[in-house]
């Protein structure tokens, strides 16, 4: 899925690790790792929670890039 994100960068700004980020939004460390790697697209709720923690908008963190064959 063409959903890129800059969650890792925002997490670095906050100075917290994956486990702490997970605790703040109510998911596991593994899930934060999956999102950062682009292997999992979070639900709208989780994306909003992450954006709030990072004090950014969902669009700041997640960038949707349409594939040529999806147009």
């Amino acid at each position: 899925m063409p959903l890129n994100n800059s969650l890792k960068m925002y997490r670095a700004k906050l100075g917290i690790n994956q486990a702490e980020m997970g605790r703040l939004v109510g998911v596991s460390r593994q899930t934060i790792s999956l999102i950062e790697r682009g292997d999992y697209s979070p639900s709208v709720t989780l994306a909003i929670k992450l954006a709030r923690i990072c004090e950014a908008t969902v669009e700041d963190i997640f960038i949707y890039e349409e594939n040529e064959d999806e147009k």
């Binding site: 890792k8 100075g15 917290i16 690790n17 109510g26 998911v27 596991s28 899930t31 790697r37």
Partner: protein, 245 residues
């Protein structure tokens, strides 16, 4: 037109199945495989008489590696401290891998342990009591290890709920998983359902051929068919239940 095509396709599949079945049966007969008609009872006799050795083999092949994988996982300290782990910590991945392998081996041992115990509880088994002792001791250890692993997972991730010794554990644990974990569980669940459907059909065919050539009787057909039906009905039951929710 499409309906006609679908019906023809299904009929063709059935016809091919019938031809393959009839041909293999004729080939088996021509090979005088029926001479081996007592293969089933002989195999069962062998498994019963030697069940203690198979039990010990299962301990060595599955239970001992469980301990090794879990020991390796315990030795790795999962990073949860000062480091903000901008690069994926290989220790975290190794920890997950060892834990997964440990739980896999332990679960396989658990099932094989029960199968072998079922076979060993037979008066033809010369080591009847030893078999029971091996079963009880290692089943206790296997269950104890599983409980310990779940508790350590819950300690590492306090969001994970469920009392591992309770019958409600699976339900409570699933409810406490996050969305990505649930998606993974549901995906694995469906893939496992689809795989088992094919596997059961193949096992059913093997049992049917075995009934004709190896005197295995009708019981395996009834059992495999029963499991097939149970799996199908439970899938439809939970699909309907989840749709309501």
């Amino acid at each position: 037109m499409k309906n006609k095509k679908d019906a023809l396709k299904l009929l063709l599949i059935m016809l091919v199945g019938g031809i393959v079945g009839a041909t293999s049966s004729t080939v088996l007969h021509a090979l005088e495989i029926d001479r081996l008609s007592d293969l089933g009872p002989r195999l069962m006799e062998h498994l019963v008489v030697h069940s203690l050795w198979y039990q010990i083999g299962a301990v060595v092949i599955f239970f001992v590696p469980t301990l090794l994988w879990l020991y390796k996982a315990k030795k790795i300290s999962v990073d949860d401290s000062e480091d903000i782990d901008l690069e994926e910590d290989p220790n975290n991945q190794l920890f997950d891998k060892y834990l997964y392998r440990g739980l896999l081996f332990n679960s396989v041992y658990f099932v094989i342990g029960f199968i072998l115990f079922g076979l060993s509880a037979d008066i033809r088994n010369p080591f009847f009591w030893s078999s029971i002792v091996v079963f009880l001791v290692f089943m206790f250890l296997s269950s104890y290890i599983e409980v310990k692993v779940v508790r350590s997972m819950q300690k590492a991730d306090p969001m994970k709920k469920g009392e591992p010794t309770s019958m409600k554990f699976n339900k409570d644990f699933l409810e406490s998983c996050d969305e990505a974990e649930k998606l993974q569980i549901y995906k694995s669940g469906y893939q496992s359902y689809a795989f088992t459907q094919t596997a059961i059909m193949i096992i059913f065919i093997i049992m049917f051929v075995s009934k004709l050539h190896f005197e295995l009787g009708n019981l395996p057909i009834l059992l495999v068919g029963g499991i097939w039906l149970l799996q199908l009905l439970s899938y439809f039951y939970y699909a309907a239940k989840n749709e309501k929710n």
